[in-house]
């Protein structure tokens, strides 16, 4: 069936394409600008010449960054926090979402309420902080991992996905005498790759980008993450940038400005490498819905 497009519809399509392309350009532009800055000379940066392409190519910003050595340690810490944290999250989320996805489970409704309530009401910053302190978790990664084992929001996404899997599959396996754990691991999880991929990414990004908790719980400088290290670097130079009316001591400032851009690039690249692999699962994996029923 072919229906001739009206004139106004054709105009709409053209405008729509142009508008979305513009959105994409505006979104990506700042990153390209930072990438170009990180590869430019200090002089070019200070005189505001860098736009989309590096001016007076050089790698000195990156060299200075690595000479520090601390960046490597922080990068390694971020990887540990992210990998272990995400593994805990996924196991925890599956352990609670799978039983709750079973409509026949006795007490399901009350348990769901018990969990969802924590999304609506919480103890807040100070009681959580005191709890972590009293459990002796200060300055350990446990302070980051243990208070955040399951995100209720992510749990509901997984729960909705499990509910979409036909019961008949499970019933067939039960007739063969398989127990619930076996069914979960051998049957349900392989069918759930879209939601597993999506939530793995959600959690991993959260860990990689976490700043606040690392700042308040991790006190020794050899344990801090990339974000905290980066913030320390930015703090030392952003004041000069905000007040840059008097950009006279350019010699002093030009290196930090480029290093900051280089540090931003280095901390961003790992997450951008993982993301294309998981991206194809997004739309299939993310269905939120009412929690009743």
């Amino acid at each position: 069936m072919h229906i001739k497009q009206s004139m106004s519809e054709r105009v709409f399509y053209v405008v729509n394409y142009l508008f979305l392309a513009l959105c994409a350009v505006v979104t990506i532009f700042p990153f390209i600008n930072i990438l170009a800055t990180s590869l430019s000379s200090g002089r070019a940066i200070m005189s505001g010449e860098v736009f989309l392409w590096p001016v007076e190519w050089n790698l000195s910003s990156y060299r200075t960054l690595w000479q520090d050595g601390q960046m490597f340690v922080a990068l390694k810490n971020s990887v540990i926090i992210t990998v272990v944290g995400t593994a805990i999250n996924m196991v925890g989320t599956i352990m609670i979402a799978y039983p709750l996805s079973k409509k026949r489970l006795r007490g399901r409704s009350i348990i769901t309420k018990f969990i969802v309530f924590t999304m609506l009401f919480n103890g807040g910053l100070i009681p959580n902080f005191i709890l972590v302190k009293m459990l002796g978790l200060m300055n350990t990664y446990g302070a980051l991992w243990f208070p955040a084992i399951v995100s209720v929001y992510n749990m509901t996404i997984m729960l909705n996905f499990f509910r979409g899997i036909p019961d008949s599959l499970e019933e067939a396996a039960q007739i063969d005498g398989a127990n619930e754990i076996y069914i979960l691991v051998k049957l349900i999880l392989p069918l759930s790759m879209p939601v597993i991929a999506t939530l793995t990414l959600f959690y991993a990004v959260g860990w990689w980008n976490n700043y606040f908790n690392v700042m308040i719980y991790i006190t020794s400088s050899d344990k801090v993450s990339m974000t905290v290290k980066l913030m320390q670097m930015i703090n030392t130079i952003s004041d000069t940038m905000l007040n840059s009316g008097e950009g006279v001591q350019a010699q002093e400032k030009m290196v930090p400005e480029g290093i900051k851009a280089a540090a931003i690039v280095v901390s961003t690249v790992p997450i951008l490498c993982v993301y294309p692999f998981l991206q194809k699962y997004f739309v299939k994996g993310v269905m939120i819905g009412s929690l009743k029923g």
Binding site: N16, M95, F121, P127, I130, Y275
Partner: protein, 297 residues
């Protein structure tokens, strides 16, 4: 009883996680009694003396409180007005794109900022908006406009805040709506085409009603956060010059509560915030139910 035994593995699976919720979610709720005590670390919560509503009286008579409450509410109102519709509109527009390669490319690019920490995004924004080396002011200069000190202006700061939210998460926000749009029955569109419905009528009568319940749930969740402004975004963007518009409850809690160690006073503020959040989320859900939607529960 039979079913309990039959499903014993399911209960065993849940048990550790329920324990986690008790320890790390419900125990801190009990910790809220600190708001009615003069808590100090050496005595612990139980032995610290009761002081009644002292901390609340101090809180409600403090000018700081009204300032941070106003700033928090304002930033959230701006964000609901100017940010909340953006992912919905973007999804509707993306849904009209026929060229798959173009659609995928635009989507992938729009998602990117969501994957990047506010520390980085904040650093980038400050760099871009810098009056001397920033690209934005360089462009303004081409039009002979004087450099604007965006980050130091109490007028521009909230604008930057909202725009930075859109930049960071509007693209990502489309995922939820795109998933909902995919779930709409294609036959409805075919029927509409046969009836001669134009694009606009299809969007209005099929697509929007199809994602209405998703919009409702997102709005309910959003309303629950009326007194929550994400700490990291504000903390990265704020500076002393814009303190009067940028200090919000979460940054104040950090500054007074943790950095200043005024635990009980800050817990009183936290309790206030949690109670208001609970009221807002339940009442929004009620309204949504009354309007005939499922809501969150």
């Amino acid at each position: 009883m039979r079913s309990l035994i039959y499903d014993r593995y399911l209960y065993l699976l849940m048990l550790p996680i329920l324990f986690y919720f008790v320890i790390f979610k419900y125990l801190p709720m009990l910790g809220l009694v600190m708001a009615f005590k003069d808590f100090n670390l050496t005595m612990g919560i139980i032995d610290s003396p009761w002081v009644g509503l002292k901390h609340f009286e101090r809180l409600f008579s403090s000018p700081d409180f009204y300032q941070i409450l106003r700033n928090t509410l304002l930033l959230n109102v701006y964000s609901i007005l100017f940010y909340f519709p953006v992912p919905i509109i973007l999804s509707l527009l993306l849904n009209e794109v026929k060229n798959r390669v173009f659609k995928k490319t635009v989507q992938s690019i729009l998602y990117i900022p969501y994957f990047i920490s506010w520390v980085v995004l904040g650093g980038i924004i400050i760099s871009l908006l810098s009056p001397s080396t920033g690209v934005v002011n360089a462009i303004l200069k081409l039009f002979h406009i004087e450099p604007i000190y965006f980050m130091k202006s109490t007028f521009w700061w909230p604008v930057v805040y909202v725009l930075s939210s859109i930049w960071q998460s509007a693209g990502w926000g489309t995922i939820i709506y795109m998933a909902a749009i995919t779930g709409i029955d294609a036959e409805q569109y075919e029927a509409a085409l046969i009836d001669g419905a134009n694009k606009w009528q299809q969007v209005w009568h099929i697509t929007l009603p199809g994602i209405r319940s998703t919009i409702a749930i997102m709005l309910i969740l959003r309303m629950g956060q009326m007194l929550d402004v994400g700490f990291e975004q504000v903390y990265m963007l704020q500076n002393d010059a814009v303190h009067s518009v940028s200090e919000v409850i979460s940054t104040y809690e950090y500054r007074i509560g943790l950095a200043g160690a005024q635990y009980s006073y800050t817990t009183a503020l936290g309790l206030f915030k949690s109670v208001i959040g609970l009221i807002l989320i339940t009442s929004t859900n009620k309204v949504v139910n009354l309007l005939g939607e499922d809501g969150l529960w």
